[in-house]
Symmetry: C2
Subunit: 162 residues, 2 copies
Amino acid sequence: MQRKLPQSNLYLREEELRRGIELLYFAYRDFTRDPDEILATSNFGRAHHRVLYFVGRNPETTVSGLLHQLRITKQSLSRVLGQLVEDGYIDQKPGTEDRRQRLLVLTDKGEKFEKSLFETQRNRVAEAYKKAGPEAVAGFWEVLLNIVDEQERSAVLQQIEK
Amino acid sequence: MQRKLPQSNLYLREEELRRGIELLYFAYRDFTRDPDEILATSNFGRAHHRVLYFVGRNPETTVSGLLHQLRITKQSLSRVLGQLVEDGYIDQKPGTEDRRQRLLVLTDKGEKFEKSLFETQRNRVAEAYKKAGPEAVAGFWEVLLNIVDEQERSAVLQQIEK
DNA sequence: CCTATTATGTCAACAAAGCTGACATATATT
DNA sequence: AATATATGTCAGCTTTGTTGACATAATAGG
């Protein structure tokens, strides 16, 4: 009567759920720290970083593609994207099939800047991977993927397996 | 010459590092979605949620304790904390040892509200844990902990093992 | 005991990044 | 030819972060 849950479900107790919630919070808090420091010396912020990242990752993505990944309004995106285009970090070119679309690509300048931001996060994650080992990393991916909205999982899978 | 890295380091390639970065982004994006929906029907926002969470988790925490966990300025905290106290979600009482301190605790009302927010995230994480299984969950914790700033890890450990 | 430090609070101004609503234009689609 | 879609833009507002300056009460150190 002492133990209410079967051995195999111990990881589903409140304590373990809180652990995941808190680790997610603290890890994300520190994960954004390094790029934020670089950004603080620029005219840009975290919102610009996200745009640079996804345009770099998906060259020729469209405005609506970005809107869906970022989950912000076009007015919000428009502000940061406009600044990035204005300052020569991103180029826009009309779509070939659908000429209403604006295909987005990083310029050389944009690529260089994005790379410097990415590098800090890559290093942090690489260190964490090394310390935790490959099996832990596989579990890390698996849980995160399942935290994503169910209906979005296929889109996320497509992105990460690209 | 084809394969540049030893088998055991395949998980440290750029592709796998990007995978972690992107999963962290997408998971966090959706993780905040459920409480945000509830908050949208209240007078509070995500900042209030964080305060409610940590006060609930650490009853009698101090203002400076919160400031350290949240990494915001006292002026920012003061605004949201003030609203939560004003509206009867949090009580303040003077410290017993150090009477300069204000010990923070949730009121019944605060506890009830925090619980409703927490429940949504608990459910999401519980589902993800179930789908991924206990070994994956252990890896998830391990990697996240190592993403946290090294000098903060002991504080985070103390929090999650509380 | 006196002085310095600490914990907290407060006022004011500002910045980043999100939001809604309304309306415009060019191109596709039916 | 009419409708729908992709994108852009103007205007105003909200939330949540920032800096800087200053105030008060209580603790701590010499």
